[in-house]
Subunit: 405 residues, 2 copies
């Protein structure tokens, strides 16, 4: 029941990147569940990872390997998160890297592992022995669409985006895939994102961009407020287009960054559109805050309120619930009289009370839309933050009461 979701189909190959996909049977039979991403020598790789204190074994290893060596392969499995699995889980994750390193005559540190799926189950090692060679066999630059399906868990649809643009007569390509539908409040979620470009970007700049891009995309979505143990988002730059970004202040850098931002935001929003049980795609837009923390505290409190989310599901313009959520968000010395609340172009709250021009019918018409924004103006300062979220529906309960994710 995804919201206004169009499956992306026109994937462009990124020179320097090949993908292999296999059925390894990590957890389920008869589905692609293992993806290997091969990166050409010289590719810059940057990543941001979950802030959950109990981050999964593959996340720990990923961070170490990224610091130690130039990555040449990503190894991704779905079906098992390899989180909460203790020392054995860590050893298993190391072993998966070693298996791929052996087959490719590389060091294990050049392999970055990613896992998503059930927490607390031992990793199925024979599946990796089976899946890795099978995935290597079908490595291809044109495998993005299949890879997008191969990393899905409770996702109902594969998520991808691809764009090409011109820089001084040279074509630059950006292609990415993502996954995630539940346990989604990435701070750096059970989301994974993999975005590649053939622009040339130094590892230091790429890391700085990756953080900045995640902070306006994957780190601004929430479905249930549950930050996963496995969230990872990787940005890869092969340099094969011939376009090299050296001056961060240049128009070229600005162009590439803006295109990457589009890719990050669309991939992040695709996760929300396919959120568990989602029937609404809602933008929470908080402005007039005194600080970023304040803006985000208000936005997340509204986005996580079960009462606000069930009202959205019901298409009930129950703005009292929004007001109550704003009021409990922890902002100090809050002056209600300065607060304005709009849904799309309809003002509901004016200076803290119900707007004179507001009618229940006007509010209900907006809440009935599958996609709308809730704009909250605090009147305290100049900071603005936006995030994207879903409603809380019967299907959310059904999915999470039935599925051992």
């Amino acid at each position: 029941m995804a919201v206004n979701f169009t499956v992306f189909e026109e994937f462009k190959a990124v020179d320097g990147v090949r993908l292999g996909v296999a059925q390894s049977h990590v957890r389920y039979a008869n589905r692609d569940d293992m993806v290997v991403v091969e990166l050409a020598e010289g590719t810059s790789v940057a990543g941001v990872f979950t802030t959950n204190a109990f981050c999964a074994a593959p996340v720990q290893i990923c961070k170490q390997h990224l610091a130690e060596a130039a990555p040449r392969y990503l190894l991704i499995n779905t079906g098992n998160a390899n989180a909460g699995t203790g020392k054995q889980g860590y050893a298993n994750a190391v072993k998966t890297c070693e298996l791929l390193a052996e087959k490719t005559a590389l060091a294990a540190a050049q392999i970055l592992p990613f896992s998503t799926g059930v927490i607390g189950e031992p990793l199925n090692m024979p599946a990796f022995e089976r899946g890795i060679p099978a995935a290597l066999e079908n490595l291809s630059a044109d495998n993005w669409a299949r890879a997008a399906k191969g990393i899905m868990t409770t996702d109902t649809l594969p998520k991808g985006f691809s764009t090409q643009f011109d820089v001084h007569g040279q074509t630059v390509t950006i292609t990415g895939i993502s996954k995630g539908a539940g346990m989604i409040m990435p701070n750096m979620a059970t989301m994974l994102g993999f975005i590649a470009t053939d622009a040339g970007i130094s590892p230091a700049l790429l890391q700085s961009w990756c953080k900045e891009l995640a902070d306006c995309s994957f780190n601004r979505i929430t479905i249930d407020g549950d930050t996963s143990t496995n969230d990872s988002c990787m940005l890869m730059a092969t340099g094969r287009s011939g376009v090299q970004i050296s001056d961060v202040a240049s128009p070229d850098a600005e162009l590439v960054f803006s295109k990457l931002k589009e890719a990050f935001q669309l991939l992040a929003q695709a996760i929300v559109r396919d959120g568990e049980g989602a029937t609404k795609f809602v933008t929470i837009d908080v402005s007039g805050a005194a600080s970023q923390k304040e803006a985000l505290d208000v936005a997340y409190t509204v986005a996580h309120s079960p009462l606000v989310k069930t009202a959205m599901f019901a298409s009930d313009a129950n703005w009292g619930r929004i007001l109550a959520a704003v009021g409990r968000s922890g902002v100090q010395n809050f002056d209600l009289d300065r607060v304005q609340i709009y849904v799309d172009d309809v003002q509901i709250v004016e200076n803290g009370g119900r707007c004179d021009s507001y009618t229940e019918a006007a509010g209900a018409a907006v809440f009935a839309r599958s996609e709308f924004s809730v704009r909250i103006e605090l009147g305290r300062g100049d900071v603005r933050e936006q995030l994207w979220t879903t409603d809380l529906s019967h299907d959310y309960v059904t999915i999470n009461a039935d599925y051992r994710s």
Copy 2:
């Protein structure tokens, strides 16, 4: 669908307290929706109120009146919270106090107003003109049971408790009522609690006790994490039993406090048992924390996780979700290797990984109970905190998607 809920029936009158109940039609016809509580002269009154920055007009006035004068009446309506109603809402709440003051030849400051119900609707003033005289007409010391019903909103059952005990040959009575089922994370919530005793307790001591008692009862329950704009909990001591508490360190003070604590906790837990859509009553018990904040952060993060709550609803011992919630609770320098997790007497997590003796069947047997505890030992210090919560069921969604509360 309340969980292990027994409707309390043996209310004892509290000397010095009379209650009047009426059908005022604030919002709905044909139901008791207005309660007047008369307090004898000399009654000490203490209160704790919502910390929501946008507290309702009656809460603002209640705090002012409590500071200005000795309260003689509480005026309580259900059906309309008089919150988010601006200046008119404030004026209306003042007017309701004036109406009751006129009829009783008191000052308006001696009236404490309480409202609960829908947010953002103008208060129905003719209902007060109708309801106040009607409630005054049936003032009686034996009206607690009817009053408990008269303050209900989405509650399915009335909540009350009463106890009598002996202090040096004199009988002391404690009787209380509470309401609330949604928008419940009192920090001080849309809950109301009114507890009266005929012990004599000074206003200063009563206020200190009221805060302390709320912090181990109403401030330790959560249904949906939504702190209301109207939560209020009042403790009243008439002194009519002849038992006077003067020395807070005396055995008498200790006895009365412990009996009050029993009343507060049972009334608070009754709100959780009758939580919207609740099928489980779950104690979250966090020990080994380095600070109270840390213990509460972990406990509330687990209690609010939609993934943990839907697993409880499904009777699915999905402990990975508990572990992930603990990991995202914001505790700094968290060492997973020291974490132990138990459900009732079954240890699931031992030193951060799955306990060797744990079986899925043993976990599932506990999760299938209507009432169980999740105990999380952090291994960081000596602080322990407990709170009480519910699962997240289809009925929760149905109730909140259908009812304009």
